[in-house]
Symmetry: D2
Subunit: 334 residues, 4 copies
């Protein structure tokens, strides 16, 4: 009765997904694991009694696999997602759906031609209790219309190969998705502002990204990937009658050594652990016949399209427009 | 491979346990449900594809049941737990283990005679991320020895049949257990102080309960079951070099109508949802062969013994001593 | 020995200044008051044993007056400040110094020709304990270079005659000054972004104003004068190694009616009461022979010049540059 | 027109008072200073243009002195206060009024025989904005009757000569006064509880002191004078419908080095700077003919009487009663 999940990619994210599926999500088991590093695949598979299948396409087609989680490198997302569609199997694909909006559109076309929603994108923030509570507060109506959405996204340190472009294409893409979801709106224009760069990291870091949404609201997102002090994600939604903001997810407060406060995690995994778990739980429920959950392929396309406009703005210094294709009927309902 | 759980009691707590076991804990399924209200039992069982077994003792003995959750009324805990021991099946019993320390000792004797730990008591706070982080902070050593543990336990409103005694026997018992666990120590003496009573509720409410622990630290716990404004649990551990306290578990902050702040839940279920889930997850792991997790039968006995001393102090106005029997070897390790 | 202060303007601000000078600042007394509303002037003067002098220019010239506070309407600031310079008397002039940058330059020329600093502008935030602590934290060096300064300025409601332009010229001007002071830098360019307007107030409200500073840091200020929920000023300075932000100035926390939090004031006076007091105390100390304190006429000019660029940007929708005249030697030291 | 203040004691507190009187309080000047250390007296006097008068009794009698501040060692308070009464001069005496309740009663008798209130005791917390806001919140009525008052008073480190008794007689006395004032009630019984002592300091530290008030409410105060991490005063008033608590007086929040939080001061002076200033301002207003402000000699007596009961409880381990003499009519109004 449990959903047999095939996991592609046994790196940090894949291992986390496997652990959640095994211990913290009901009605699922990791049935097969694929990774170029067979030892790593074996380790994850052993933890859950699953098989190791070397070729990810074989895994997708295997009868022992009901549904697929893709946590392999970005360039593999497109072909593997298409293979899942071809096999008619539900897939939870880590962001991005594909590395260009054109590729995303191909996937959308392929999914639309199947006539049903098989793809969920791993924009896990949509399941974070804080963002969920923000959306609930907005929907309650007391706050009135949304006008500004302030976002802050800080990493302690970025990998050495990180570029100025990565801040937009890999990091800010989370803000793009959560803003679209929270405001239930699309972005029309993107402007990237580059303040004085930190002397650490050797790139344009931090950046401020402004989105003009169709309904007129403005999103301003600070992206700072070498913020040093820790991983920190903040957001405040400013509405006509008040605002709602995330509170930092600290369980305890220390008073010690002349200071009072709490710690920031080093990366996003503890910060969004509940979101990852709830995302998987919702995905399993949809695989079992529930309605689609989380971000769709369309959402993956839209986030990538905003990122491309952002990269254009970063290069030109001017505002860039986001030109989306018409939304297929398959994605009209949420 | 999943653990087949038999659930006794399909009330509020039992229904929550069934939901968690079905959706949020890996490797478990609700195989059978028993409740005097057969319709209620049927509803819970249907949600998880389990059977309904009218007699809880039959459920315990049924081959389809690997392990048992007891969420039925307090007076049933003793006979049902003993039945689980007789059947050699692991059991997660909601607090209290039994309604008197004498009865608890009988159960301890029975478990000790089996030679292994089969009983976990549902003191879920031991799995709350906040308390866990407090214990981790204390263990880290920077704070030095624990000296005082300030606790606050407030309910919005108490049921109409609540008595002054219930504040100690049913509510404060959570503080007794968490203090013992956090401080890794036993209580020697209990003093109940009764401030001016709230005009709401018609009983001695609030109360301040002081525990003197063996190592000399003091626990002071405010118990206030008609606090009106919401469910609120707070704690601060004062140590030689600093303190650590729980932060209120709020995901968002609202600025609206001339105020800034966050909401308190009406009862304990949202507050301790993560704790309940993690408790069940740890229990399932122990059922599958892991080490015992959570509170033992000894812990259930000790909490009940402190409550009895508290009731004596409430009645006499004087300090009462806690006289525990020797701890059997089975409970020497944590 | 006390400084005899002549007060011009007995409205809300003037009355507050008189009260502070009488009760909360040592070494000063209100010696004379001038206001077109003689009754109001009389009331304020009686509270401090001062004289009423109808003509403000007579007040400035009066032998009983050592130094002057100008709290009369904006258009009077220029002629009255010039009269103070002519009389050789120190003056604390409420912002703005004058209503155009050209007029400000005339005053700067006049002051420069006296060879000494007689003018202090009432940018009181420079004395707010929060902003002072931010500047101290930045100066301490641990945070590294300043990169971004996020500002939020919200009023509960704006007067009915408020225009979109007022948000920049009257409200944001406080952010302009405090950013210049905190960063010890000048603004080069201003961009005004207008999000969807609140349906309350009938103007472009809120606005986001971006300043590009000479050293490359960026200031983004949300100005929202019909924010409804209260008066709220926030700021976070983002530096290479960490950030420092203002905390809301709440003395107490209430837990009541299912919520926990604190109140926001209706306007700026309670929020900046300490700043106004300390500003006056510093001004009196400088009048008594101490070094110049607070914002200079140059600072008043620079803030007005930024506001003019902001108005140009609001009108054009494009970025506008701030072109300052060379800074006279008189204003080279702080 | 300014009040000429004679200051006795030019130590830390006296110097602070002189500075506040000179710079931050209107209508006052330090006219004379007395201290056994003449150099120190001279330094303080020079800062304000005052005279040095070696003998404090001479200072009290001097025609250049209108009112007296006593900031000399505790044993001098009684004779100097009596000298002020004899001279008919208002006096602000640092706590304690005298070192025994019997001595306090002598002073009360002397003041009562003058028929007017000349003595204010330096319980500055009554002027702290936080405590004032708490009292206002209680008086507003929404919270209902007060039931419990939780207090925490922590010092970073205590002087080497501090004894277990000092925690009650010198430190907790502030809690005694503020509780009486906030609750508008007297203490009937005192119980001192001594938890495990910190290994730092060599005394019974911390202590928990319980006051039973006449109206039934209970005050529990943690006193911890070697708390290491900083000076920290907290309070929460628990009422029938909600609670009100002090918020920590932090102006800024730092995010740095993996942590977010704020600093605690090393001692009470920055924490209560506003309280000291407002206390002096209110005292000067009363000297100029306004109604009595702050704590009266009766309040000084009551606090000392509670401290004596506390010392009895500390010695005996049992609850001690507070037996106040009848309150003279002079002290019936606040």
């Amino acid at each position: 009765m449990a959903v047999n999940v095939g996991l592609i990619g046994a790196g940090v994210m894949g291992t986390d997904h496997a652990r959640f599926l095994t211990t913290s999500v009901g009605g699922a088991r990791v049935a097969a694991v694929s990774d170029p590093d067979t030892g790593r695949a074996r380790e994850v598979a052993d933890g859950s009694g699953g098989a190791v299948i070397d070729d990810p396409v074989d895994l997708i087609g295997d009868d022992r696999v009901d549904a697929v989680v893709i946590a392999s490198p970005d360039p593999t997302h497109k072909p593997l997602t298409l293979a899942c569609l071809a096999a008619g199997k539900p897939v939870l694909c880590e962001k991005p759906l594909a590395t260009s909006s054109g590729d995303c559109l191909e996937i959308i076309d392929a999914e639309a031609s199947t006539g049903r929603r098989l793809i969920q994108i791993g924009f896990m923030r949509r399941f974070d209790p804080g963002y969920v509570a923000m959306k609930t507060a907005l929907a309650a109506g007391d706050l009135g219309a949304a006008l500004i959405f302030h976002c802050v996204h800080r990493n302690a340190t970025a990998a050495s190969y990180t570029t100025s472009e990565n801040l937009i294409a890999n990091t800010a893409v989370h803000e793009f998705d959560i803003a679209r979801w929270l405001l239930d709106d699309e972005a029309e224009r993107v402007t990237v502002v580059s303040p004085r760069a930190s002397s650490l990291g050797g790139m344009k870091d931090p950046q401020i990204i402004l989105l003009h949404m169709t309904a007129g609201s403005v999103v301003d997102a600070e992206i700072f990937v070498n913020a040093q002090y820790g991983y920190d994600v903040r957001a405040e939604l400013v509405c006509e009658h008040g605002t709602v903001s995330l509170t930092p997810p600290n369980d305890i407060q220390l008073r010690h050594a002349a200071r009072e406060g709490f710690g920031h995690p080093e990366d996003w995994r503890p910060r969004f652990a509940a979101a990852y778990r709830d995302e998987l739980q919702a995905w399993i429920a949809s695989v079992k016949g529930g309605p689609p959950a989380g971000a769709s392929a369309w959402d993956g396309y839209a986030a990538t399209a905003i990122a491309e406009a952002g990269l254009a703005s970063l290069a030109s210094g001017a505002t860039a427009s986001v030109d989306l294709q018409p939304r297929p009927a398959l994605y009209h309902s949420p």
